[in-house]
């Protein structure tokens, strides 16, 4: 095949093909672009042929991924060329290079219209195709009637009409207000009588769009669709050219059955009978054959028929055939069929009745969960999740847990969330539920959101029988060599409350419990320390008779933290110290936490809210409504005082444990008063709904404290306030002050830090709004999407979001709507470009109004330095020359860092890895040292290799020596400071912008490592 003279193009393509590497390719492309640009400059001298050639070159270059920012006009101008070859190129290249909003397209509207209404069929086709691909509003306005006319014209040949159908589809989809389809039902019905399969194929696409929009108007098309299906599937009445491996146009069959799935039911008995006959034929008559293509094509039809039968859900007999077929499919070896079997079985769960039959295939489905193919594993996971109920929950969840240890990183989060939800929804007994959650935390602690452990704590509190069991269980986990921080949190909470129930068991004396908990304190972050302090206070209180030694030990800890920089820790230390000297009064104040009112699980709610309106989601919902296990009903639910029985409430983030445990934990200390005050402080002056109020009042009514202790509580409160004021007047904030402010749920700083490490999660939450973030980072570009979700049944108004970018980031936030409708979520993309290295952090200034409340928050955005890093594996041959070539300040900096948060080396390695500072093992012979390689991207610096060496001292984990090198002095400095911030144990004070670590003065830079240390020797060599 010759190129008909486009030799220049062939030569260019050959050249590109011969390029040895990307750089050469880029040079060749640049040269060509220069050439084309000059040629286009004196356009007058160009023949249409030359123009055509250059325009193809542009398309080729664009396809290779290079920006082509000129020549668009030339491409568009070819549209009005008189000859077919040039015109064709003009149309095709224009639809590839431009989008519907491009200004140049407007220039072409007239030529396009002339082609459409002209008499040249081939020109008509070209024009219709381009409009069908990229036509925007202006095209719809000026062309829709012409296109409609062509589609219906009897004088027009099929080749034009099929294009007109899809052209109309585009115009209608993009601008339903401009394209008038009133009265189109009859015309569509007429179109479906068409004999030509090309016209039918494209008309069917148009019909699918129209019926999905308004099926009632098109009911006359229903029998026609059945007729077409009958013609294809039963009578096989199609020209040879449209049969594919003996199957009459499988694509048209599929489309027709898709259109039928938009009609809710089929009333006419004749039509119905015909359709069921055809479907029956497809279900029964599709055999597995040797030819792959034939097999695929017939199964494409079969799967669509299955979907249609499921949708109609009318014939019991046929439904069971479907299940039987799917059961066969999920067990076959052929991966495509198995994948589709799993996918369709998940969809099938939407239909009632079939649950029991599907359960018979559980073994095969579980086998697919272990398939080497991740696509199949995902489908299996979704199906298992959907088919889980009380009867099989134990098996399924245990399979999921087992799989968790070996699952890909990409699936772990989803897997653990799903396991947690299933365990909660269908737990046959509560101790099993506790086991599952603890295993989850143990195996995948990093993926366990706070919601999950809050929930388990809530259940333990609410169920007396469970308390000793849970306490014994968590204690076992604490004995493991490596304990995840979340496990420490749960254990501290549960042991603090209930370890006294174990006191008689061996190894469970208060002292022993205290010491296993306290062992963990050096390893945890500032958010966990407060929980530990509370546990200590409670353990101390339960130690009867008092143990002087234990008391001294715990008091010493409280005293130590009295001057802690973290306000939460400090406050607890001060208050507990004061309280614990009160003797008997302490008993009441530190009494057991009251039971929680039962509410719908926030986890399950989350799963339901995340309605991506996919079939499997609705299936989940259905399941959830049908059979929630009774195991998790709160033990004590008697409504008193005429308060309405607790109803599932949607508006609030229901699990209140977060706020009780984290920042605003006055409830714990002032537990006695919290019976009214603490709870009321959360009642907003304008409650979002009556339900909410009922719910909040619930605990008041239900959870009356034992009568005998009531009087002493009041004493305790006054005593407490006195004591607290004596120490720190601000420690206990008067409830009245707080009633007017909206409190965030969860710890903002903690959320921010979590988001620095991962790319999606919740940035902020309060009773009204939840702000989620999802980010994607690529070199120096970032694309964040802010998800603003209104949690209430009333709109949020006066919504404003402002980005305050630091100097080194270019940020562009798309328009934020002023109102967020009730229970709606809006997405606002935010584009980020990193110009140069800096640790500064961008701030989102966000405000909204709910009722009379004006809420304004400033949130740090996780567009931190580490997001622009890209780990890179570097071999010793590459590393050492680089390391040597960067010698001395300012490109290479060294610093001895003190006050490092003590952590095992492996944990430090994990921490660095999670910041995309990739550890390269083996480069440094000393096992106490870490070598890091990563690439930093910014617009100014492009990609820069950064090398870091961290020398730790096994004898003193609180100090280390860090050496950094990169080709940019600012980057070296900023990265050094950044890493330091992550390693030193300066507690983050909420709201303080990126806490600056104390830069150890240069004078401190005394060599810490003796000269005979191998690490020091190596450092000399390096």
């Amino acid at each position: 095949m010759a190129m008909h003279g486009m030799r220049g193009l062939s030569v260019f393509i050959s050249d590109i093909r011969n390029c040895q590497n990307k750089e050469q390719e880029r040079l060749r492309v640049d040269k060509e672009l220069g050439n084309v640009r000059t040629r286009f400059k004196n356009e007058k001298g160009l023949t249409p042929y030359e123009k055509k050639k250059y325009v193809w070159k542009m398309l080729y270059i664009y396809m290779l991924g290079y920006d082509v920012d000129f020549g668009h006009m030339e491409a568009v101008s070819l549209i009005s060329a008189p000859k077919y070859p040039e015109k064709q190129v003009g149309y095709i290249v224009t639809s590839c290079l431009l989008n519907e909003n491009h200004d140049f397209l407007r220039v072409a509207i007239n030529s396009v219209r002339n082609d459409i209404i002209g008499r040249n069929e081939t020109f008509q086709c070209l024009a219709l195709t381009m409009v069908g691909n990229i036509g925007g509003r202006e095209f719809a306005e000026s062309l829709a009637p012409d296109v409609q006319k062509l589609l219906l014209s009897s004088s027009c040949r099929p080749l034009v009409r099929k294009k007109a159908a899809l052209c109309l589809l585009r115009l209608f989809r993009k601008n339903p207000d401009v394209v008038n389809v009133d009265g189109w039902a009859d015309r569509m019905a007429q179109l479906l009588d068409e004999r030509d399969l090309g016209v039918l194929t494209s008309s069917m696409s148009l019909l699918v769009a129209l019926v999905s929009n308004n099926h009632e108007a098109y009911w006359t098309c229903l029998p026609k669709c059945v007729k077409i299906l009958e013609r294809l599937a039963r009578n096989q009445d199609v020209p040879q050219e449209y049969t594919y491996y003996g199957i009459p146009s499988p694509w048209l069959q599929v489309k027709t059955m898709r259109a039928l799935q938009y009609f809710p039911s089929i009333e006419d008995p004749n039509t119905r009978r015909t359709l069921f006959e055809v479907l029956q034929r497809i279900l029964m008559g599709t055999d597995v054959v040797k030819n792959v293509n034939k097999n695929n094509a017939s199964h494409a039809v079969l799967f669509e028929a299955l979907a249609l039968v499921m949708h109609l859900d009318a014939e019991k007999e046929m439904m069971s055939q479907c299940v039987a077929l799917l059961g066969k499919f999920v067990a076959v070896r052929e991966p495509n069929i198995r994948y589709l079997g799993l996918e369709n079985m998940t969809r099938m769960l939407m239909v009632t009745d079939v649950q029991e039959v599907i359960k018979r295939h559980q073994v095969q489905i579980i086998a697919s969960l272990k398939d080497p193919d991740i696509s199949i594993r995902r489908r299996a996971l979704d199906l298992l999740y959907g088919m889980c109920d009380v009867t099989n929950a134990k098996d399924i969840v245990e399979e999921l847990l087992q799989y968790l240890s070996s699952a890909d990183f990409a699936m772990r989060e989803e897997l653990s969330l799903k396991a947690a939800i299933l365990a909660e929804k269908f737990a046959p007994d509560l101790s099993w539920y506790v086991d599952v959650i603890l295993q989850l935390i143990d195996k995948a602690g990093d993926f366990i959101s706070d919601d999950i452990w809050f929930r388990v704590v809530q259940f333990v509190i609410n169920n007396d029988d469970l308390q000793p069991y849970a306490a014994a269980k968590v204690k076992e986990y604490l004995h493991k060599p490596a304990v995840h921080e979340t496990m420490v949190k749960v254990s501290a909470y549960i042991l603090g409350e209930y370890s006294h129930l174990l006191a008689r068991r061996p190894g469970c004396s208060p002292k022993e419990i205290f010491s296993i908990l306290h062992e963990k304190l050096p390893t945890v972050s500032t958010t966990t320390i407060p929980i530990l302090l509370s546990a200590y206070a409670k353990i101390l209180m339960h130690t009867q008779p008092p143990d002087q030694e234990l008391q001294n030990q715990i008091w010493a800890i409280f005293t130590k933290y009295e001057s802690c920089i973290d306000a939460e820790i400090q406050q607890r230390a001060v208050e507990y110290f004061a309280l614990s000297r009160k003797g008997a009064a302490l008993m009441d104040i530190l009494a057991e936490m009251p039971k929680f009112p039962e509410r719908q699980s926030s986890l399950i709610k989350k799963a339901e809210d995340a309605e991506v309106d996919t079939a499997e989601q609705s299936a989940i919902k259905l399941r959830a409504q049908q059979q929630t296990s009774n195991a998790l009903v709160v033990t004590d639910q008697r409504p008193a005082n005429g308060a309405p029985p607790p109803v599932p409430v949607g508006q609030l983030s229901l699990v209140k444990v977060p706020s009780m445990i984290t920042t605003e934990d006055r409830n714990l200390t002032v537990q006695a008063s919290s019976q009214d005050n603490g709870t009321l402080s959360k009642v907003d002056p304008q409650p979002p709904s009556a339900d909410l109020l009922g719910d909040l009042l619930g605990p008041l009514a239900i959870e009356g404290p034992p009568g005998a202790t009531v009087p002493s509580e009041h004493n305790a409160v006054s005593g407490l306030e006195g004591a607290a004021e004596a120490v720190d007047g601000s420690a206990i904030v008067p409830v009245e002050v707080e009633t007017n402010t909206v409190k965030p749920i969860g710890n903002i700083a903690e959320r921010f830090h979590a988001l620095c490490l991962k790319d999606s999660g919740v940035l902020y939450e309060d009773p009204y709004i939840q702000i989620g973030i999802k980010a994607e980072w690529r070199a120096h570009h970032g694309r964040l999407v802010l998800f603003l979700g209104n949690k209430n049944t009333a709109p949020l108004i006066s919504v404003q979001a402002l980005i305050l970018p630091p100097g080194h980031l270019k940020m562009e936030l798309s328009l934020v709507p002023e109102t967020i409708p009730p229970r709606a979520q809006v997405q606002c993309p935010l584009e980020v470009v990193n110009l140069r290295p800096s640790r500064d952090v961008a701030v989102l200034d966000y405000s909204y109004k709910f009722g009379a409340n004006m809420v304004n928050v400033k949130l740090r955005l996780p567009a931190t330095l580490n997001k622009f890093l890209q780990p890179i594996p570097v071999s010793a041959e590459e590393f050492f020359p680089q390391w040597r070539s960067l010698s001395g300040p300012p490109l290479k900096l060294q610093e001895v860092v003190r006050g490092v948060r003590p952590m095992p080396l492996s944990e430090m390695a994990n921490l660095l890895n999670s910041f995309r500072l990739m550890i390269s093992p083996g480069l440094d012979p000393n096992p106490n040292n870490l070598v890091v390689c990563t690439t930093f991207y910014s617009e100014n610096t492009h990609a820069i290799l950064c090398l870091v060496r961290i020398e730790t001292d096994p004898a003193d984990r609180t100090q280390l020596r860090m050496t950094l090198a990169s080709g940019d002095p600012t980057l070296t400095f900023e990265l050094k400071e950044f890493i330091k911030e992550q390693l030193v144990s300066i507690p983050m004070v909420p709201r303080a912008p990126a806490a600056a670590p104390p830069a150890p003065p240069a004078a401190q830079l005394t060599p810490q490592i003796p000269a005979n240390d191998p690490a020091a020797l190596l450092a000399g060599l390096l």
Partner: protein
Amino acid sequence: MGIRFILMVNKQGQTRLAQYYEWLTLEERRALEGEIVRKCLARTEQQCSFVEHRNYKIVYRRYASLFFLVGVDNDENELAILEFIHLLVETMDRHFGNVCELDIMFHLEKAHFMLEEMVMNGSVVETSKANILTPIQLMDKAS
């Protein structure tokens, strides 16, 4: 329901043809192609032909050195797309005779003409090879 893009990529990950039916910026395309190609090329023959990626499902097929990747919405009939790929290859085969990567590379415009006849705005328009090839044959005759 619909096709969002069609890619032809060789074993080395070089794009040989890219046709999008929704507008993505060059940056987005580059990123998307990179991610998809990395995912699909790493798969073995024993794995299924479907890969879930972001909001897309990728239906792909390999012919010798060339991968055909079609991005579709999540509710598309996967097998119908899988066979649509084969129909495209058979059509090219009929025109070029034993089509290979080089044919597509050096006759990019023809590959585009064929696709243009087969798919419009993400919907299948024509599945008869004779009808698909008519305009190209007309052109060949004219020149």
